[in-house]
């Protein structure tokens, strides 16, 4: 019964992973054949490339902004949607829409919002007198560019985080809230002492989801930042090294490194956040 699943996972996950691990230690560049074993040569190569170092720094910021904002917005939205109200189903359906859109489409939509000539953001800020003239938001300043690109991804992944946390919220028995109120707990105390501790499994999964997607951010950066180093991510740099420069060996090494970092951070986040909750 499990044979098809084993074959499926083996072919699509295990085999490519094993291949990546092996190839990361080989010189593999069709422009300078033949392929040969180079030990840690590919890793030394990528770390001596300033574009890769800059991409790692940028990706650190993407992770920080992405995880913090996704979890904060996801939790807030989930708490707001916890109570039943008229039209809640419609709100839920609309909320999930950004999750359903491809990253490239979202990048294009937000490029119109950030556009320095016609953009909605410029128009809004100018009409509110926060700006005297239209600004270039993405492309000049590193942190501002990363924050704004990160916001596009947060807009995409927050709905799933909100649903995961909402599912946890709805599993909390109503009696626990009633008991807290009987004991005189206010709104904030209920959130802090009852809600947050009991939704830790949902929070942990939402955090890991945001973490993995932020480390692997690609589409939004590709559309909004093109090839500029200002806000380039590790995945974009991997793409350029592999498919543009054809240095497949270094591409494999960078992919392997990113995988290791992703797994380590995800396991760390789960260890810190996840607690089994029994009611």
């Amino acid at each position: 019964m499990v044979a098809p699943l084993v074959v499926f996972i083996g072919a699509l996950a295990i085999y490519p992973t094993v291949l990546t691990v092996i190839e990361a230690f080989f010189h593999n560049d069709p422009l300078t054949p033949p392929n040969h074993f180079v030990g840690l040569g590919n890793f030394r190569g990528i770390f001596s490339n300033p574009q890769v170092v800059s991409a790692f720094e940028n990706t650190g910021w993407y992770v920080l902004f992405g995880v913090a904002l996704t979890v904060a917005f996801g939790t807030s939205i989930a708490i707001l949607l916890q109570k039943k109200f008229r039209g809640r189903g419609i709100v839920l359906a609309i909320m999930i829409l950004p999750w359903a859109l491809p990253g490239v489409v979202e990048g294009v939509i937000w490029s119109w919002i950030y556009d320095p000539t016609f953009g909605l953001l410029n128009s809004l800020l100018k009409s509110l007198h926060f700006l005297s003239q239209y600004q270039i938001f993405v492309g000049t300043r590193q942190l501002e560019s990363i924050f704004l690109i990160s916001l596009v991804q947060v807009w995409q992944i927050t709905p799933l985080a909100a649903l995961l946390i909402l599912a946890s919220l709805q599993s909390i028995p109503a009696e626990l809230y009633e008991a807290a109120r009987v004991d005189g707990a206010g709104w904030w105390q209920v959130i802090r002492k009852v809600t947050l501790p009991l939704i830790r499994p949902g929070l942990a999964i939402a955090t890991v989801e945001a973490l993995v997607l932020s480390i692997n951010i690609f589409d939004q950066v590709y559309v909004l930042n093109a090839g500029a180093t200002t806000a380039s991510s590790v995945m974009n740099t991997t793409y350029f090294i592999t498919f543009q420069n054809l240095n497949f060996g270094q591409g494999y090494a960078l992919s392997l490194l990113t995988t290791v970092v992703t797994v380590a951070l995800s396991v760390g986040a789960l260890k810190v956040l996840y607690r089994k909750v029994d009611f």
Partner: protein, 437 residues
């Protein structure tokens, strides 16, 4: 030997001789007939021609075509991924001029010399040299495309300019006058986003200043301050810093500059535009506010008219193709002058390949010019035949993509304020040294 047998031999000999005589003329059709029933996969960065057009090819040859339209960037990734994995991807696919050196080195595509002799067809194909490396033909030109200058003549006229500039100095002062008179605040479009369009813009300005960026041995020709490449980069950066170029263009790719700036009269000229944009963007009422105002002009140079660099797409046969003979028949059919002219719009919209610029060969170009159905067609044909030249006369270097990456990231950084022209020039030259070693 019996009489009957001798007669049969005689008939056979006559048939053989006639066959040999006609072989050149009917060879294509005869070999095509033997390929009847074959289905080839064609992956191209152009939308498919109308079904009826492809049906004609199938009727002629019996070969069926599965045409997949894949965006250019995605297509390059798929070609590289399939080749690296040593697997079949398509029977016919894109060979961009910028990839010719790479494909020559990697042997990812079959040389086409066996089917098309570069020497004998060179006079018919103005941009053939872009696809030849060390005498090896890596792809056939699928179209002719070149970098051209477009101007909004209404804006120039409002500024009192009635004669179009023929030198870069006059071009710059005309644009300054347009800005000064408040007709268009930032009249020049240069796409400064870190993407390929920025690299090609630099090559074209360098050509206009009478030079090229790399020598035939791929040494940098732009490191001296007096070199055309250095001056071209300084001119572009200065144009941005002095306000000739809209500030927003820091994040604009080439097509955004055409569609957002030029088509909405936010700029009055594109120095390095693409042939065909007049018909596909500026004269399309649904996406343009300058429908009858924009025209092609001969590109201004340092002392007179400049060259227009070739920017063509080609088609070739991947080394892992399954149906090489059928693929060759298909390429020959694509190259027929009548088909090329029809793809570009010579016979009306029914046979057009959307966004197809110009026919790849002289026969097709002449048919297109004679049809009079393509905006600015005659002007473009003139530019192709008299002013067009390759970006790299010896063919693109194998490491072109990495080189171009260094070009556009560094130029973008200069305009973004993170480095100087001198340091960008130095960084690009260092990258070349590293790539060559």
């Amino acid at each position: 030997m019996t009489r009957t047998y001798r007669r049969h031999v005689g008939v056979f000999a006559v048939v053989a001789m006639v066959g040999a005589t006609l072989a050149v003329g009917v060879g294509n059709a005869a070999s095509a007939k033997t390929l009847a029933g074959t289905t080839i996969n064609v992956a191209i960065a152009y939308p498919a021609p109308p079904k009826a057009t492809l049906a004609k090819f199938t009727k002629q040859t019996g070969i069926k075509v599965n045409w997949s339209y894949i965006q250019w960037d995605d297509l390059q990734t798929k070609i590289a991924a399939a080749a690296e994995a040593n697997t079949y991807f398509a029977d016919v696919t894109d060979v961009d001029w910028s990839k010719v050196g790479e494909y020559y080195q990697t042997k990812w595509f079959l040389p086409l010399n066996k089917y098309f002799s570069p020497k004998s067809i060179a006079s018919q194909y103005p941009q053939l040299s872009s696809f030849v490396r060390n005498g090896t033909l890596m792809g056939m030109p699928m179209d002719v495309s070149l970098l051209v200058t477009t101007v909004n003549k209404a804006d120039f006229s409002r500024a009192g300019i009635t004669t179009m500039p023929t030198t870069l100095t006059k071009y710059t002062s005309d644009l300054q006058l347009i800005a000064k008179k408040g007709i268009v605040a930032h009249p020049l479009d240069i796409p400064f986003s870190a993407a390929e369009g920025l690299s090609t813009y630099w090559y074209e300005v360098t050509a206009a200043m009478g030079g090229q960026v790399l020598s035939s041995s791929y040494a940098p020709l732009f490191t001296s301050k007096s070199s055309p490449g250095y001056k071209a980069l300084a001119w572009m950066v200065n144009a941005y810093k002095t306000g000739l170029v809209p500030k927003a263009n820091l994040g604009y790719e080439d097509y955004q500059g055409f569609e957002t700036d030029m088509a909405h009269n936010l700029t009055a000229s594109v120095f390095s535009d693409y042939a065909g944009d007049l018909g596909t963007i500026y004269q399309v009422p649904s996406q343009s506010k300058v429908v009858s105002d924009v025209e092609y002009i001969p590109t201004p140079g340092t002392t007179g008219l400049a060259s227009n660099l070739a920017n063509p797409d080609g088609i070739g046969i991947p080394a892992k193709a399954k149906h090489v003979a059928a693929a060759v028949q298909f390429i020959k059919w694509m190259e027929e002058p009548a088909n090329q002219a029809a793809f570009a719009g010579a016979t009306g919209s029914a046979n057009v390949i959307s966004t197809f610029p110009l026919p790849s060969n002289v026969g097709g170009l002449n048919q297109l010019a004679a049809s009079g159905k393509v905006p600015g067609g005659a002007a473009l044909v003139n530019l192709v035949e008299h002013h067009s030249r390759s970006v790299f006369p010896a063919g693109a270097p194998p490491w072109y993509p990495a080189f171009s990456n260094a070009v556009y990231t560094n130029i973008h950084s200069v305009v973004a304020g993170s480095e100087s022209v001198a340091s960008a020039i130095s960084a690009i030259a260092s990258e070349i040294a590293s790539l060559k070693s």
